[in-house]
Every structure is written in structure tokens, then in C-alpha cells.
Symmetry: C2
């Protein structure tokens, strides 16, 4: 066996900038050079090898190390953090920020200091390029923080091969551990129709890796859930005709019907075409291996869309094949590795975490499952099941929610009270509230664009059952508000809080206006 | 006595749009027409007359009404809500949004789809005009919500005259009540130097009411606290040379030294000149009653600035003169009406609320003091003292904080642990984190502009002592986070929360990275 190249960074204290340079050099043609950050002076057996240094593996490692254990991360990429900073959460947020910004600039184009935007189609490739150049910074921070601040051991830029439930081979060496933690993530669900392998058919992964031309003025997005809508809203904001082809209904995951309606109305107002109960039958080739057109089956018959750009957002499928083959771990119906609430797989001493164990494929679950696996490995029995978590997505807006929709609440409680903004109004929603940071220009002259929010309350117990928000600046709040709601937050508790006015969630002040009443009513 | 004109809206169900039309018509030359919304069929005595229908009077009325009492608001303006939607919180947020937006557009001008902005000075007057046209919407909602949803009685567009502690005369009629609640607000502290009455010297109040020309390319802002910095940052963002003349130090109210330093550095980077330990000696006239120049005493001697625009942000002074004269209520050293924790003045049955009772002159205090006055009036003894509240201000950024600064914590606790982003780094802060909504473009290519955040923890009890954030999208969260901190939130509690990644406050995930440790250390 030829010994692969490697560099040992253990005794170097690389700055974040030096990490950036190293990561970029490895990306540029040194794919076979492993980065070793191993404490050779520590002769303890590893408590765990984390195969995969994404969100789950890195957080699990950090927690295990913090508890005094010894860990090793092995990752095929030259950086820790996994897909998030490379082709998932971070680029999605870049694109969503661009969508928000472009909607603002288009809405006010030709007024104030805003340049006219009518008919202007802006570049997708420029933003992809900007992200591709800029992502090294976050990558570098992960490596720096993990080594210098979290004291983690890791081997990067080298795929690990599972030998058995205690042994992984990487870059020509074998490492053993008491436990193995699988954090191999997921990949985009592939489209399975004729033409899906043509150049011009993208998922979030290969979009940022390989886009090398400017998409045509019409684009097709396949899917109607988070990823599809988040990327599609950006494409739409660039001024392109954007057609969402959705098998069932778009954004079904937004629970509250009014909130969902508001969100869809705003997408359509920005020009998005949403073809529901439709599916792509095949993708036509231009004779040079590229997409030329998409054929869609709609309720009204077959339609053909000329385009050179198709984006698929069909969900993710766990990368369970390799560990299933190497270890025989039990696999579930969605290709996920089956674990119990201690994150243990069917094979003793083998744990699995993150997207690999199935939904919800969200950052908090990846990280927390890593943390809980670490606790169990270190002898602290801990059970984790994600539930009652808040959620969000981006369109041109930020959309956040927690708890029950109005309909869910009405099905369960007989005295549901709704507090919302804008209020019910004989002339509809075209009024200048809600308003807050980054919606003020809308509130002043395009009021119907300034957002929508709703609080769902059990009128008997006065407890908050659900909260829903479309706008900007409330997503972060939903993390903390969710904890309070799970504690039993009431409309009276909200009325006693100190608002930071103009607060994006008007929940505190609206609750105060009602909370003097013994018998609550809608507002 | 000539009976003033009045219109009775009691039996009309005006839509929000109809309210808007009515308010605008009264603003345009029908200043003496009172709006009556009185329930003449209710023969109960009023539990309270709220003199002033701003934040405190409206929320106090709503709460009292919700408790089953009868109230009457009297306000000189044709709308409820007071100064907030007219010339305070709402315009401030419009201007701050413009500052954030202009900084973004200038930073990326000439790249992506952003028009070049070098040397471009944008209009202040256009934004003032946009606000002036747009503010009627929020005004109209206050009137609509208060009448149709909150069932309040009010008389608007008519100044009330206090006859005695139970009687107010308004629009030719006298109304009596068991109690009188004073909510007359505050006014900007006037500048007291030669030339301060010239045209071109503005506060937040007359800026939006009277600006009728485009300010020169150099402007002077007097003051270094919230209002001065919020408006001044907008002027700076328009491309004008903006000089802050500050008697002591700018933004002393930001408690944490590192956070304050970051904020000031970013203001200066955007071109703001901050002249500390300086004061304006006099303002020169141009021969036509307008400002021509400002003479400033600085530590380095006297300096003269040519400008036609001066903005004063010197704080607010309570409007206590009229009630002091009419009722003899006790006045404090800052012109505030003195109240006890039940909001009672020195005169029986007379309460005072809001800015009229002094600092903190914040929205939450205005509204909550109204609510607590209502409870006391309705026989439910309730004590209110604002303390341990979160706070914020805008520069080009949103800056939010709660609890202790690092220095305050170190003075009180011996084992203070700091968790912050960006991390300490040999090469300084120029790294691409933190990142989140509305900072993503910065994170990708101007990383030092993407924000700064800090969590201050007592390492022994593991409790959060303070939190500090510069960026976007965290202000709302601080409302709810503050409640959790007051409950005794620990770093472990944070580590158990569900983040909505990329969350503007990275506190949850950073805490999780550390919370496995028995002995906490900085991150």
C-alpha cells in the first residue's frame, strides 16, 4: 500500500487565515493530502471515533471532549462543519438574503435612491461565485475553533473506511476506539426521470460546486418544500420566470392556513408560478448533453418549458449504505440508520447521529444528537427525541413557527383565541402594520408586504398554543419563545414582558392589550 | 363660548382606510374639529380619564376597559398612539432601516447587481416625505383597533384642559371621572445656545414635521446617545459628512466595552466623525434666519463647521408644567411627575404614566405603567418598577443587550466566563462569523462587518449574567431571552435549546460546545 501524503498540524497554532489558505490549497488539486491533528502523546484509547465531522460529529466530539473523553473525527473534506458551511445552510442563507434584498430593491426601484429594476435579470452565477469564494472563512473557523478552542483531534481530507465496529482505516493508518459514531449525513434525493443526469440539472450540492454559466431567463424548480422554495425564491428574485413544479401542494409544512396563504400570495406577487399536482415527466437534451426543456404533466395536460436550468429540491436521503454494508446496522424505510433514543444502532458500541438517522434533518437535531451520543458514550444515560421544536424557512421573507396552527388548536380546544396583525379589517390586509426592522419601507408605502403574524391561545387556560410569523427579525426569537411556550407561557406572562419596540413579533403588546380581560377574545 | 366643531364617529364603523382619510383631512386645516367616540348610552361614571392617548394612555385604557371599567382618552392629535407613530419610534425605524440598507448598498456598490454608490449623496428629504405620507396608516390602525377591537371611548383632535383632579374640559364639554391619569409625554430637550432657534436646527419632532429642503453635504448631530446616534447614522449613510458633537463620550449607554468599541469602529468606518468632550458654542445665521455654520469647542480648540442642518438629540424632558400648575402634583428634579410604584402622584386619584414620570423613556415602560395604573384604579393593587429590562439601539446595525457587561460581571463574580463570536484570533476579528439573516453578504466578503456577540456567564453557578449582540435579527429575541435570564438561565439550559440555524444569536450552539465541561472556560 502506498502511504498517502499527509501534513501534521498538531504542533502548529494555525490562525484562521492560515487555515483558510491551507483549505483552499487542498481544494485546488491536493485532494489526497490528509491533515493530521492527532495528540500522539495521549496514549488513552479513544472513547469514540466520529466518522464524519459535520454538525453532529463536531458537536458530539466537542461535548465528549468537554466531558473529559478522548475523540477522533475523520472527515473526507479538508474542513469540519460538514455540508452546512459548504453547500447547505450557509449558501441557502446567502441566497435568501439576496432574495430579501432584491425584493426590496425591486419594490422601491426608481424611488428614493434605488436604481430602477424593471426588466432587470440579475446574475445567479455571480452570487454562487461570491459564496464559493467566501465560504472558506467559515470553514477555517471550524478547524481553528475545533483545534485551538475545543481541543479536538481530527483527520481531515481523507475518507475513513470502516473495518469493524471499533476500527476505522484512514490515510493508511488504522485507529481503534471503544465506540464508533456514524455521522455521514445525507445527500439530495435524485430525480428519477429521463434527462435527470443532463448538465443543467442541479441540487443544492452541485449548484454551488459546478455552476459555470448563467441560467436562462426561465428556470424550473422541482419540489415545494424548504429547499425548493428557498432556492427558487432566490431565482425568482433575480427576475427570472420561476416555475415551481410540485407533486402535491407547495409549502404544506407551514401549518397555519392563513400564514401559508400569505406566504404563497407574496411568492406569487413576486412572480413565482406554482404548478401544484404536477410532475416533471422528462427533461429534453439540447444535443450537447445539456438541458433544453422540461416536460411537465399538469392537471390541465402536458406542458413544455424551455430552459437550461432545473433545480431539484426533493428532500434528502441518508448516506447509510457504507455503514450498512460494513457493519450490518439496521436500516429503516427511508434509508436511515435506525437508532434508539440513546442514539445506539443495532450494532453494539455503534451510534448514529444527524441526518443519517432520518428526519427532522435540521441543524439542532444533528448537533444535539451528537451531544446525546457523547453523553451516553461517557456513561451518562441520556435520551433524545426531537419534539416540539420551532421551525422556519425562507421565501423572500423569513417564516417562523412553533406549536399549533389555528386549525390544529380548534380541533383540540373548544375556546381558541387568536391574536394577530394585521387585524381583521373590512378592507383586507392592506394596512401599515405589522412593521419592524427591515420592513419599514414596506410598512410606509407597500403595507401589505410588511408581514403577517398570529398567536394561537387556549382561552380557558390562557396558554399560548402556537405562534407564527412572516417578516424579518423574528426567527431568532422563536428559539427562546419556544422554551417559554413549553414552560406554559400564558397571554398574561406575555403582557408582563418588556418589548423592544418596534419588535418584529408584536406578541407582547398585543397580548397586553387583551390580558386585562377575564374572558379572552380575539384581537 | 363658541361651541367647537365636532364629528361623532360612535355609531360609524370606520374601516382603517376611512380612518386614514379622516385623519388626513383633519391634519389639512381642520385642526379645530374634535372627533367624538363616546358611548352616550353608558351612564356609568368614568373610572378614569386618560389625558393623553399615547402609548401609556392607550394601553392603560385598553387594560382598564378589559377589566370591565369605563375610560375616556382625550388627545390633542387626531389619532391615538402618541408620538411613537408620528415622530418617534416609527420614523426612527424607517431611518434606521435606510441606514442598514444604504450601508449594504454602498458596501457592495458596483458588484453583483448593486449600483455604484461612490460619492453618491442620497436624499434625506425624500425619506422624510415617504414617512410623512406613510405614517397615516399606523395612525389609522390605532384608532380602528382602539374603537372596534378594544371598545375604548375617546375624544381626539382636541386639547384637554384640567379643571380639577376629577374634571377635564375638552371641545366645549366637561367630563368627570373617579380618577385622572396623566400621560402627556415628553418633548425633546431644547438646545440652549445662541442660534438654536434658527431654521435648520432640528429634533426628531420637527424634522419629520417641517423639513422642506435638502440638507447640505455636511451635517452636525449634537448628542451621543440613542436618538442622536440613530438619526445621525442615517444621515451618515446618505453619504454626508456627519459630525457627532458629544459632551462626554458617545454611546456610553452600551455597557460592554468590546461591544461599544465594535459599534463605534463600524460607525467610523462608515465615515462618522465623533467629536467627544466637545460642545457646540453657537450656531451662525446666514442672514435669512437659517443655519450657516456651527462653532464647536473641542479639546483641540474651537472649530467651525459649515452646514445648513443641525440635529439635536439631547434627551427628553417631561411635559409636566400644565398638570403641575393645574393640580399641584409634585415634580422631580428632571421635570418629571413624581409617582410611587402604584403610579400615584402626590394628588389623590391622580396617576401619571409614561415618559411624563421620567426614565427609562421606553415604549415598554409607557405601556406597562399605563397597565399598572389601570390595575390600581380598578382595585387591584399592583406595583411597577422597570428593572432588569433588555435594551437596544440602532446605528447602521441593531445593537441589543441585557444584563451585565463583562466588566460589571468581573467586578461582582470571581469566575466569569466569556463566550463570543468572532473568537479571539491572532489575526483579529476579520473572519466570516458570526453570520445570519441580513449579514450573509458581509460574512462572505466583508467578514469584519458581519457582527459581534458576547455571552457573559458566571462560571460557578453556570448562569448567564449578560448577553450582547451587534448585527441584525436578534433584537426580538432579547425580549424573550431576558425572561429566561431572569429565571436563572444556565449555559446548560442554552445547550439544550433548539436553534434555528443560522440563528442571529449563536448563543445556543456556542453554549452547547462548552456545556459538557464541568469547569467552564472561555470560548
Amino acid at each position: 500500500m502506498i502511504k498517502p501524503k499527509s501534513i501534521n498540524v498538531r504542533d502548529e497554532k494555525l490562525t484562521i487565515e492560515q487555515w483558510g489558505t491551507l483549505i483552499e490549497s487542498l481544494h485546488d488539486g491536493n485532494a489526497d493530502t490528509a491533515i493530521f491533528n492527532i495528540d500522539e502523546r495521549d496514549h488513552r484509547e479513544y472513547d469514540a471515533i466520529f466518522l464524519g465531522g459535520g454538525a453532529g460529529g463536531r458537536f458530539g466530539s466537542a461535548y465528549l471532549r468537554a466531558m473529559g473523553g478522548r475523540q477522533l473525527i475523520i472527515d473526507r473534506w479538508p474542513f469540519l462543519g460538514g455540508s452546512c458551511p459548504h453547500n447547505a445552510c450557509v449558501p441557502h442563507h446567502v441566497f435568501s438574503d439576496c432574495a430579501a434584498e432584491l425584493m426590496l430593491q425591486r419594490t422601491f426601484g426608481g424611488t428614493l435612491w434605488f436604481a430602477p429594476m424593471d426588466g432587470v435579470v440579475t446574475s445567479i452565477k455571480d452570487v454562487v461565485d461570491l459564496f464559493r469564494r467566501g465560504r472558506t472563512g467559515p470553514h477555517a473557523i471550524m478547524n481553528y475553533q475545533s483545534k485551538e478552542q475545543l481541543d479536538l483531534e481530527y483527520i481531515l481530507n481523507a475518507p475513513g473506511k470502516i473495518i469493524d465496529s471499533h476500527t476505522v482505516e484512514v490515510a493508511g493508518r488504522r485507529f481503534t476506539a471503544k465506540n464508533l459514531v456514524l455521522g455521514l449525513g445525507a445527500r439530495p434525493q435524485a430525480l428519477d426521470i429521463p434527462g435527470s443526469d443532463l448538465k443543467g440539472v442541479y441540487s443544492n450540492v452541485n449548484l454551488v460546486e459546478t455552476l459555470d454559466y448563467e441560467p436562462s431567463d426561465t428556470v424550473v424548480v422541482i419540489g415545494g418544500s424548504k429547499t425548493a422554495v428557498e432556492y427558487g425564491s432566490f431565482f425568482s428574485a433575480t427576475g427570472r420566470r420561476t416555475i415551481f413544479v410540485v407533486r402535491t401542494e407547495c409549502l404544506k409544512l407551514i401549518r397555519d392556513a392563513e400564514i401559508r396563504g400569505y406566504v404563497l400570495d407574496r411568492m406569487k406577487e413576486q412572480g413565482a408560478e406554482i404548478w401544484e399536482r404536477s410532475q416533471v415527466l422528462r427533461i429534453e437534451e439540447n444535443g450537447e448533453g445539456r438541458v433544453k426543456a422540461v416536460i411537465v404533466q399538469t392537471p390541465d395536460g402536458e406542458r413544455r418549458i424551455e430552459t437550461n436550468f432545473v433545480f431539484t429540491g426533493l428532500g434528502e436521503i441518508p448516506n447509510s449504505e457504507m455503514p450498512a454494508k460494513a457493519l450490518g446496522v439496521k436500516i429503516g424505510p427511508k434509508n436511515e440508520i435506525v437508532v434508539n433514543s440513546r442514539l445506539q444502532t443495532s450494532v453494539p458500541n455503534v451510534y448514529a447521529i444527524g441526518d443519517l438517522i432520518g428526519g427532522p434533518m435540521e441543524m439542532f437535531k444533528a448537533r444535539k444528537s451528537g451531544m446525546y451520543a457523547a453523553r451516553n458514550i461517557m456513561g451518562r444515560e441520556s435520551h433524545y427525541e426531537p419534539k416540539d421544536f420551532p421551525d422556519f424557512l425562507h421565501t423572500h421573507y423569513e417564516v417562523s413557527w412553533l406549536g399549533m396552527s389555528e386549525a390544529e388548536a380548534r380541533a383540540k380546544y373548544k375556546n381558541v383565541v387568536i391574536i394577530k396583525m394585521p387585524p381583521e379589517n373590512p378592507n383586507g390586509i392592506n394596512v401599515g402594520l405589522p412593521a419592524s426592522d427591515r420592513t419599514m419601507l414596506y410598512a410606509m408605502s407597500k403595507p401589505h408586504m410588511s408581514g403577517y403574524q398570529k398567536l394561537v391561545i387556549d382561552g380557558d387556560s390562557r396558554r399560548v398554543l402556537g405562534a407564527h410569523h412572516v417578516g424579518y427579525g423574528a426567527k431568532d426569537a422563536f428559539q427562546y419563545l419556544n422554551v417559554l411556550v413549553k414552560q406554559g407561557l400564558t397571554v398574561d406572562d406575555l403582557g408582563e414582558m418588556d418589548e423592544l419596540f418596534l419588535n418584529p413579533t408584536h406578541f407582547i403588546q398585543l397580548s397586553r392589550l387583551r390580558s386585562g380581560r377575564e374572558h379572552l377574545v380575539d384581537l
